[in-house]
Amino acid sequence: MNEAHSPRPKKLTIIKPTTGRGILATSTEIWPYRSALYRMLLRDLRARYRHTAFGFTWALVSPMIWLLVYSFFFGYLVRFPSDGWPYPLFAITGIVVWTFLSRATLEGAQCLINNTHIISKIYFPRIILPLNQSVMAFTDFVISLALLVPVLLYYDIIPSARVLYLPLILTLAFFMALGAATWFSALNARYRDIGLALPLAVQVWLFCSPVFYSMSIVPESYRDYYSLNPVVGVLQSFRWALGNDTFAPTLPMMLSSITFSLALFISAMFYFHRAQRRLVDTL
């Protein structure tokens, strides 16, 4: 069992206080730990659905319930406009995207705190944790996309070739989620206030985004400002890719989303790099 000592070049590690640079090192460190990331993902997915009767179908249950609730109250009773689509289809497209973004943010914010027992005992690139949380929320998102298929079929809507834009839109959403998860995980480790304030903020944000109502109810003079909400770009481009042209993504809308995602992601990397040095001491 001691083939460990066959001659092989020994890696030199330098342990010293973090400086501003080294952020590149933080990112490149992920690769050697890819199997840890994979195992952690497996761990969380299994742990989540273990001892549940329906297993993975739970990823579908929550959007399905919201679909029923929204369709009954806002579609059937209040009769919100839905951009020319049947209301349930409009709602489900909003719900799956929103569920992904909000879950990545909320669960991401807890990921460092929930793994204190590992962080305080083993060294590994800490960025793996928010990354893992985002990938997990993304996995559930992809599973929940399956919900769209019966709804689209039911309403006889066949998406055009624009559906090929979906991967790009999903990538955009992923980086937004990853940026938020990374930021809030590090912030929450330091200020537990974040964990308490965030659910509230996420709920408020839901009302500021066209998830269960159409942009058409926003007064026209405010619509340009409204479109600056980066989530609007993700939601509307997602609907557009599935064939809804009513509020097709505009350039400012998409620029806002893309700029926001990139800025959030890059600043998150910087902040996380700085924050991880005192992580163990504050957790």
Binding site: M1, E3, I14, Y33, A36, R43, I118, K121, F124, R277
Partner: protein, 436 residues
């Protein structure tokens, strides 16, 4: 030395002692400000207290060395291991590490309670940097060492704490690494497991892995390590071969650095050890009826004299001595009830009030030439302890035998010193065995 594996240069770690969890953050300061506005008064800013858990720590550890870190609780040993394993980051200085580091900082590393033992092995191994292939290759060995094969597919939350521990140790012990950092791994687990751990660590060490080991179990430190660093308040105060370091550590801890306290006299009875039944007056180490000044000689009887006052009429007091060696091991216990030749009549009968003098004779040739510590206990016949004076006196035994006059020397294998906590000449008989 050029073949160092760990090289620490003025490494330091500072902690801020918070009054509350967010004490020094700007956000907390802002929150305090807001609170102050509402209360209409200014709250004084909390004093930020800084603590250097480790400071100015400089050393080199070469390949294959087995180094123990010893010292009181909170002296910085564990913090140093956390720095070397990169779990936390230094505030100043730097450390260079050559090769792959594996660490076991307190057992129970990151198991997920809902996952099975098998899944946790893979997760834990991957976090420790073991590749998939390596884990597959070692899997059976890990399971066998932990002895959990029957429960492999049970959720870890159903394991006993001992089983979790075995599994965690087993995974960590099977990671191939150049440097192994261990913190108090032997402090937990049953006896069988402790032995198993110790053997495994020895095996890893024999294979050439450099080991840094934190433990309060001085006897296992002495057995496993060849070098020890003593920590005091975040600094390394001594860095020596292990046995020397341990005996110095014990001396430092007992405040008799570099020497012995062969006699102790208590002037004021109120401050002397004891209670309303008995008070200690003095304890001294004697040889040839004279107080010992330097060291006692190996080949003469040693006497320990205890003078105590009995404050209650008709109490039956029993005097015990516990002798321990320079590594903290108990050597023997003796008392004045079960004695060698005839009964100690005074000890057996009710005693009047007044001073008493008990003398215990340790026969020549029983002790080895090392340092011994004497702990005194006085009980009554109902087994109630009235007095405990831990390590009240100590003495060095010196071997002044001129071996050049002897026919035969000690074998060279005995090294510089004759090993052992005692050195008794026993009766032997050797004859030529016929008809075998």
């Amino acid at each position: 030395m050029t073949n160092w594996m760990i090289k620490s240069e003025a490494l330091g770690k500072q902690y801020t002692l918070h009054r509350n969890a967010t004490g020094t953050s700007p956000l907390a300061a802002a929150a305090d400000g807001i609170r102050a506005i509402f209360k209409g008064k200014k709250t004084p800013a909390p004093a930020k207290e800084k603590l250097w858990a480790v400071r100015d720590v400089t050393f080199e550890i070469s390949e294959g060395e087995r180094v123990a870190l010893i010292g009181a609780n909170g002296s910085g040993k564990s913090t140093l291991l956390k720095l070397l394993s990169r779990v936390t980051e230094p505030t100043e200085g730097q450390a260079l590490i050559r090769g792959r580091v594996n660490s076991l900082l307190e057992v129970g590393t990151g198991f997920h309670p809902d996952l099975s033992g098998r899944e946790n092995i893979f997760l834990n191994a991957s976090l420790l940097g073991m590749s998939r292939d390596e884990t597959h290759r070692k899997f059976d060995m890990i399971v066998a060492f932990a002895g959990i094969s029957r429960f492999l597919d049970e959720a870890v939350k159903h394991y006993s704490s001992g089983m979790q521990l075995r599994l965690a140790f087993s995974v960590a012990a099977h990671v191939e690494s150049d440097i192994l950092l261990l913190d108090e791994v032997l402090a937990v687990g049953d006896l069988v497991f402790q032995d198993q751990c110790q053997n495994k660590i020895a095996e890893i060490a024999d294979a050439g892995t450099t080991i840094v080991f934190v433990s309060h179990a001085l006897s296992s430190v002495a057995e496993l390590c060849n070098r020890a660093m003593i920590f005091e308040q975040g600094h390394i105060v001594e860095d020596k071969p292990v046995k020397q370091a341990i005996s110095h550590y014990i001396e430092r801890a007992r405040g008799i650095e570099g020497g012995c306290r062969q006699a102790v006299h208590y002037g004021a009875p109120e401050t002397a050890p004891g209670n309303h039944v008995v008070r200690l007056r003095s304890v001294s180490v004697l040889q040839n009826n004279k107080p010992v000044e330097k060291a006692v000689l190996l080949n003469r009887d040693i006497e320990i004299e205890i003078i105590y006052g009995n404050l209650v009429p008709d109490s039956k007091l029993r005097v015990c001595l516990l002798i321990s060696d320079h590594l903290g091991n108990d050597v023997f216990i003796t008392d004045n009830i079960y004695t060698a030749k005839r009964e100690d009549m005074v000890a057996l009968s009710p005693q009047e009030t007044g001073f008493y003098r008990s003398l215990c004779c340790i026969p020549a040739g029983l002790l080895n030439d090392i340092k011994y510590f004497v702990t005194l206990l006085i009980y009554d016949h109902g087994d109630v302890r009235h007095l405990l004076a831990q390590n009240v006196v100590s003495f060095d035994v010196k071997d002044d035998t001129d071996y050049s006059k002897h026919l035969v020397h000690f074998p060279a294998d005995y090294c510089i010193r004759v090993p052992g906590t005692v050195r008794q000449n026993l009766s032997w008989h050797t004859e030529k065995a016929e008809n075998l």
